[in-house]
Symmetry: C2
Subunit: 194 residues, 2 copies
Amino acid sequence: MREERRGELLATAAEVFAARGYNATTVRQIADAAGILAGSLYYHFDSKESMVDEILSAFLDELGAGYDAVLAAGLGPRETVEALVTESFREIDRHRAAVAIYQKEARHLAARHPRFGYLTDARRRFARAWLGTLERGVAGGAFRADLDIRLTYRFVRDTVWVAASWYRPGAQHSPEEIARQYLSVVLDGIALRD
Amino acid sequence: MREERRGELLATAAEVFAARGYNATTVRQIADAAGILAGSLYYHFDSKESMVDEILSAFLDELGAGYDAVLAAGLGPRETVEALVTESFREIDRHRAAVAIYQKEARHLAARHPRFGYLTDARRRFARAWLGTLERGVAGGAFRADLDIRLTYRFVRDTVWVAASWYRPGAQHSPEEIARQYLSVVLDGIALRD
DNA sequence: TAACCTACCAAACACTTGTTAGGGAAGGAG
DNA sequence: CTCCTTCCCTAACAAGTGTTTGGTAGGTTA
């Protein structure tokens, strides 16, 4: 099965990219990890660039669908935040390597080649989802009104995605448990209430 | 003055490293940004590696001194957290490029060459400072007792340092203002209290 | 003036990079 | 058996990499 082999190679490529960085990774390292020679990769893929492209767009498609499902559920602002965070940590659990690559390389890739313009589009799309939810929460009295919405969004976004750099699937905390702890901090703070 | 020129070159190298990533940056790009030729850099520095080394160790030395000063002040846990966060954002303001490089490359560099072992040491040292403060706060009743300390530490750490990737000095928010907003979220949460 | 130091250039070096071309082994389909 | 597809290998390519070597213009010191 042709597609199956491609998928395997993409998975190992993603691991190497995530571990060493896209530019620092050579096609020979990917081939080594897959147990084949460098040139053989070009039977399956056009270029090294095509590999990251497939890895990232597959991840972003799935994340986009997840976010859309959450937004379409018609929840209140607080519940929407909870659902978005939980969905995000689930995506990290399933696409850890892709998230790490996106986190580190998205900016460079999007800036260099127009081919990766969809990375910027996705970022803007997710920003709208988050900012809209936060604004709705402030307007409706669910969230504090004295917060800088954009700063808060950046804090929330960064903390969620950076988790991909230390998260190891199947170790100690489940995605749902991490989401619960994280939401506890963001929603209620670490200070003890009187 | 010999040292002065070195400092200039290190500053431009840091900017290029931060913008394009260490591995993706060529010595010719650094030389271009400095207005000289690639080979001329080797009059001032042994290697490309030495440049990141100097950039990162200079930053970490200063950050370490700042953290030590905070810890030596004998503040309570909550005030220590506030001081650590404020100090961190001030360091981002002063060493934006170095922080970005540290954030992206520290793991790879430390894993590859023993020369960069001090990066791991610094990470452990900062972790102890944060974890100790959080534990002290929980024990003393300043912070909630139902939090996973290690998870909380990771959230706090990541959010602070990732700010280096979007922070631009002199634009809109001062380091102190960002620290204030951030502390407001972390300490008290974004949810409105009844 | 002569010797010297600083900061750079010009040109090349050995090596690594992504990529290509041609070929061949294995296995299923006719 | 023959044909065809899948998957990989061998071997090379041109371009780009970090680095070295020898030289030189200009200022400072003796």
